[in-house]
Symmetry: C2
């Protein structure tokens, strides 16, 4: 069998991982756009995924999302301009800032968490709860068995 056909019909772990990640992302942003969050793009996911009600530092966001600090700063700029987050001083460290969600930011957090839960539940229904739980555990182990990004600050 031709390699390209094989990769399509019996995709390897790399191909599968890329596909799953792209499709989950796509689904989330499609739904978000439908519900009025049509000004956020996939890039913003790096921040939105880890935003915190109590505020979180840019550097911490960068670490969690595997981006460097400059990129994260640029994404935050945009989300601030779009009205999803505010920069506030961090009382614990005067060098630092806290990225705090606005009202709209809180709503997109809640909504996107719901989209992911929907995807997870739909998959759980398809596979059965037991198999889904096993799948999820295996996914965690798979990710954990490989080294992380190694950007500026690393998690």
């Amino acid at each position: 069998m031709r390699r390209s056909t094989r990769k399509e019909q019996e995709p390897d772990l790399g191909v599968l991982a890329v596909q799953l990640s792209a499709r989950v992302q796509r689904e989330i942003f499609a739904r978000a756009a439908e519900q009025g969050f049509d000004d956020v793009r996939p890039r913003h996911g790096a921040v939105l995924a880890y935003l915190d009600e109590e505020g979180i530092r840019p550097g911490e966001l960068a670490r969690l999302a595997g981006r460097n600090k400059q990129t994260m700063g640029a994404i935050i700029d945009e989300l601030e301009r779009l009205g999803y987050v505010r920069r506030e001083p961090d009382p614990a460290d005067r060098r630092a800032r806290l990225i705090v969600p606005t009202e709209r930011g809180l709503r997109v957090m809640v909504a996107s968490d719901q989209y992911v839960r929907d995807i997870e539940q739909s998959l759980s229904a398809r596979l059965g709860a037991d198999r889904y739980a096993e799948f999820r555990a295996a996914l965690v182990q798979a990710a954990a068995s490989l080294p992380a990004s190694g950007h500026d600050t690393e998690g």
Copy 2:
């Protein structure tokens, strides 16, 4: 528990998929670089993953990798300049081209397939062959249950 902590400690499907995909990619390119393929970047993966000994069309590559034709053309330009592929006429259709791997291209295909197999086997050893097989099957279903990219040409 804070949302950001929760996302780190009990990552959802979206986070896990992104992590796995990034780490597998990273691992492959790190190993490739070690073995002398230090001029390919992650971007080139879209082509290298689907290259074919017998040649494959740019449009087909674009479909498989979920990029549009222009992006694919640019990646092919680079890989051609780097000596991994050649553009040849397609005897079956005078509009079309065939992207054919060079000697070096063949070597990187073999090598990267091996890296992925190594990752898969290491994970299989960690989980046990049965659980790994189940994991892989679930991954296929998960990816298949979500719509694909929807670019220019779509698969």
